[in-house]
């Protein structure tokens, strides 16, 4: 058994939060003792979405906004694989917003790590779905004129069973969140705050560092009302940790033939098995 994850040289900017997120991901997977061939990292397009190229693991680097649908297809085809979606805020909440909502409805067993830097990095500095109202960008010269998405609150209202927020500047805590999300049976969202050192001059490392705080030890993550309050707390103080957790039946377990059988990919195929279906046409 070899649980060591090899790294490749990234093309991210020096100081980018993605480096820390990758370190946390490597540590989480290694500590969970999952081998690289047992994991699939699925991403869309963006700086965060390049992750499958920078860590040696099964990778599916698809289209912009479309990380979730293939992740669902992969998990349904082979329930033994650990499926992790790793993409940015634009990919997950903008272009892929519809898939995000419907992934929560399904509650399929995937972990979704959103690198949320509140800006578009790859395309050079335009507003993202999480950029604050009024913030000036390379495209919104007078400031953003639409409300930001509140991803954690949205996930909660949709009924997500695992809702968490992390910070790239707090690696041990992020490793903990990632491990819990990967182990969680169902759709697990971890929104990870990270600075974009080049394009976001507002939400800098210091900006986040001064605001984030760990949820207290006595915080009850089964209390949905409390979780909603914490999900909306994004101002002078930003809580990080598992905001909400609830055990729920997964999508794949709602299908007896998936739950109680080998993974679909391992099924023996024989055309003659289908011959009996012709009876209804006789």
């Amino acid at each position: 058994m070899n649980c060591e994850y090899k790294l490749y040289e990234p093309s991210w900017c020096p100081g980018c939060g993605n480096y820390m997120i990758r370190t946390a991901l490597k540590m989480a997977l290694e500590e969970l003792k999952i081998e690289p061939h047992e994991v699939v990292l699925v991403s869309g397009i963006g700086q965060a979405a390049k992750m499958p190229h920078y860590i040696k693991v099964n990778g599916f680097n698809g289209l912009h906004g479309r990380a979730i649908p293939p992740a669902i297809g992969i998990k349904l085809a082979n329930k033994d694989l650990k499926v992790i979606v790793e993409s940015g805020d634009g990919d997950s909440y903008g272009e892929g917003g519809n898939h995000f909502i419907h992934a929560i409805r399904r509650n399929i067993d995937i972990a979704h790590f959103v690198h949320d830097n509140q800006i578009y990095g790859l395309t050079k500095g335009q507003g993202s779905p999480t950029t604050a109202m009024g913030q000036k960008t390379t495209l919104q010269f007078d400031g953003v004129k639409v409300e930001p998405i509140k991803p954690l609150a949205l996930a909660l209202t949709m009924g997500a069973g695992f809702v968490a927020r992390g910070f790239s500047g707090d690696i041990p805590h992020l490793v903990y969140l990632m491990k819990e999300a990967i182990k969680y049976k169902g759709y697990a969202l971890v929104d990870i705050l990270q600075p974009c050192v080049v394009w976001n001059k507002v939400n800098t490392f210091a900006w986040y560092k001064n605001r984030v705080y760990h949820l207290p030890d006595d915080y009850d993550y089964t209390n949905k009302e409390e979780a909603m309050k914490k999900a909306l707390e994004f101002d002078e103080r930003i809580p990080i940790g598992i905001l909400y957790r609830e055990e729920k039946e997964t999508y794949e377990d709602r299908f007896d033939f998936i739950k109680n059988g080998p993974p679909l990919v391992d099924r023996q195929l024989n055309p003659m098995d289908a011959e009996r279906l012709m009876e209804e046409f006789k």
């Binding site: 992740a71 085809a77 299908f255 990919v265 024989n270 055309p271 012709m278």
Partner: protein, 557 residues
């Protein structure tokens, strides 16, 4: 003998169930049946009709003239009375029997006797049974097969009441029933299931929806994951994920939904993941005519997708063809790691025809997946090979090896690259498959004369109508034949080139406005059609219409 029965009424009047019962009865009597459905895009009201044709000969089209009309409302009488053959009959309730030559019957009276308003149509079926002197027990068996217990009881009563209303006119000789009766979409789905398709996802859209619902009805029994996705964008991306993970996957829609899949189609091209995509065509542009038919997407699916990549397109010609070709599509997708697009249309999706039972032993499953033993060192998902096809590993199946699939241009391992040499090499590698496909594709079917003076070219679902028209013209001593394309991209040209050399005239027959197959032929061969018979009113060609138009527009000139 050759009879046609039309059942007409409003949406919601149970036309389809009645048609299913009647076609089953006629099949049980040992006859060939062809049922054509014409319906509007609404759940209640409007005018819908179904035409059931049966004969002791092979039939592959509907007819314009009918022998019997079962009118469930007055509108049906007004709309279809001119289509009645000499000596034909219109059956209806006496309250709506205002026209001459209509057979008024006490439907309403019987309804109040049975105390079930839903059995109206079945009374009419009883009348039809008696008209042909079909034994009532064959009717009972069909009713029992299609209805649940209580409904079945009342419908048998209705059938018997109808049976007693008239005297028989025709003695239908009973023969052995050896066929199956199936529509194009179910045959397609059954072909996919036989081929081991374990994943189907889609978003409801006429006329592809019945593929989705057929798969769903077999999901538990056959262990097939069926997902109604949030949109067609998700559909193809999800199918590609499932295929990457190693199962045979398919998605389907009509042209509008296919349009939403186009980005992912291009992705399938660069990522080299096998997938089968169905476009069940209906008339566009945009929403077009939702419940009508057309062959307008041929050029679209051949060219859809940004960038250049290989694909295969096959058009289905009949329910039988739908079964075998769909199964074959999976082998081709797996062998070349490409998207294979299946073109059908509303007409073929919905019409039912009696055909020989499918031979499942003819279906071969060829996966072309590596077990990793032939891989030296680190696995290269996009290894450059002579054929252009790289060994395919399934993620998680080989210890220590990982599979990296990428939508960017990539190196052999699947990593992003902008290197001009690697780009050139990769694009060339992918496109090599189109040359291999040229050896894989099947030549079009030839019907009629082997070396015809009049050579018809057509494709897909027009097969049945063209076949009937050609047989009729051959009986009249015309030298005529037709090439019916199934595999259509890359375009097989060998047989066409041979026949075009000696043909006096080439006639293109298509259900679209611009003659898309003809333009493809002009592009791929030195030939083009001399005349086009095109139809784009949303209604399918009948054999009679093609016969008539060939006579008037081509043969008389």
């Amino acid at each position: 003998m050759d009879f046609s029965i039309l059942i007409g009424g409003a949406a919601g009047q149970g036309l389809d169930t009645s048609a299913q019962i009647l076609e089953l009865i006629l099949k049980r009597c040992g006859y060939n049946v062809f049922t054509y459905r014409d319906y509007m895009s609404r759940v209640r009201g409007g005018h819908n009709f179904t035409q059931i044709r049966f004969s002791d000969k092979d039939i592959s089209s509907f007819t314009e003239k009918v022998d019997i009309v079962l009118a469930l409302n007055e509108e049906t009488i007004l709309l279809h009375k001119d289509r009645l053959k000499e000596g034909g009959t219109i059956i209806c309730d006496k309250e709506i029997a205002h026209e001459d030559g209509v057979l008024p019957l006490p439907f309403k009276k019987i309804l109040s006797k049975i105390k079930n308003q839903k059995v109206y149509n079945t009374i009419g079926l009883g009348v039809i049974l008696k008209y042909f002197n079909i034994p009532i027990d064959i009717g009972e068996e069909a009713v029992n097969k299609l209805f649940k217990e209580k409904a079945s009881y009342d419908n048998v009563l209705a059938l018997k009441e109808g049976y007693s209303l008239i005297d028989g006119k025709y003695n239908l000789k009973l023969k052995e029933d050896k066929k199956i009766i199936i529509n194009g979409n179910k045959a397609l789905a059954l072909g996919a299931i036989a081929a081991g398709c374990k994943f189907y996802c889609g978003y409801p859209m006429t006329p592809s929806t019945s593929i989705l619902s057929y798969f769903s009805s077999k999901s538990n029994e056959m262990g097939i994951m069926v997902d109604q996705v949030e949109d067609e964008v998700a559909a193809l991306n999800m199918a590609l994920g499932a295929s990457y993970a190693g199962v045979r996957a398919m998605t389907g829609s009509s042209g509008g939904g296919f349009a939403l899949m186009v980005e992912a189609l291009s992705f399938a091209g660069i990522v080299e993941i096998p997938v089968v995509i169905v476009d069940a065509q209906r008339p566009g542009p945009a929403t077009g005519l939702s419940t009508r038919t057309e062959q307008g997407d041929l050029r679209f699916v051949i060219h859809a997708g940004h960038g250049e990549f290989p694909r295969m397109v096959m058009a289905l010609r009949s329910p039988e063809d739908a079964f075998y070709q769909t199964a074959r599509a999976f082998n081709i997708a797996d062998k070349y790691q490409i998207p294979v697009i299946i073109l059908t249309d509303l007409y073929l999706a919905d019409y039912t025809n009696t055909i020989d039972p499918f031979d499942f032993s003819r279906i071969k499953i060829e996966r072309h997946i590596s077990d990793g033993k032939d891989i030296d060192g680190e696995y290269k998902r996009y290894e450059i090979t002579d054929s252009g096809i790289s060994p395919r590993l399934i993620p998680g199946k080989v210890d220590g090896q990982v599979v990296l699939a990428d939508s960017h241009e990539h190196d052999e391992y699947g990593h992003i690259t902008e290197d001009p040499d690697i780009r050139t090499e990769m694009a060339t590698k992918r496109m090599k498959k189109i040359d291999l496909l040229k050896d894989e594709i099947q030549e079009p079917w030839l019907i009629g004369e082997e070396k015809p003076e009049i050579l018809i070219v057509c494709w897909g679902s027009t097969y049945g109508a063209v076949k009937e028209a050609v047989s009729k013209l051959i009986e009249e001593d015309y030298s005529i034949g037709a090439l019916v394309f199934g595999d259509i991209w890359p375009l097989p040209t060998r047989r066409l080139m041979e026949l075009a050399k000696t043909a006096e005239r080439i006639v293109d027959i298509e259900q679209n406005l611009t003659g898309q197959l003809d333009s493809l032929i002009r592009e791929e061969t030195p030939y083009k059609s001399d005349y086009k018979i095109l139809k784009f009113d949303g209604r399918p060609f009948s054999g009679e219409e093609i016969y008539r138009r060939l006579k008037k527009e081509v043969l008389k000139r």
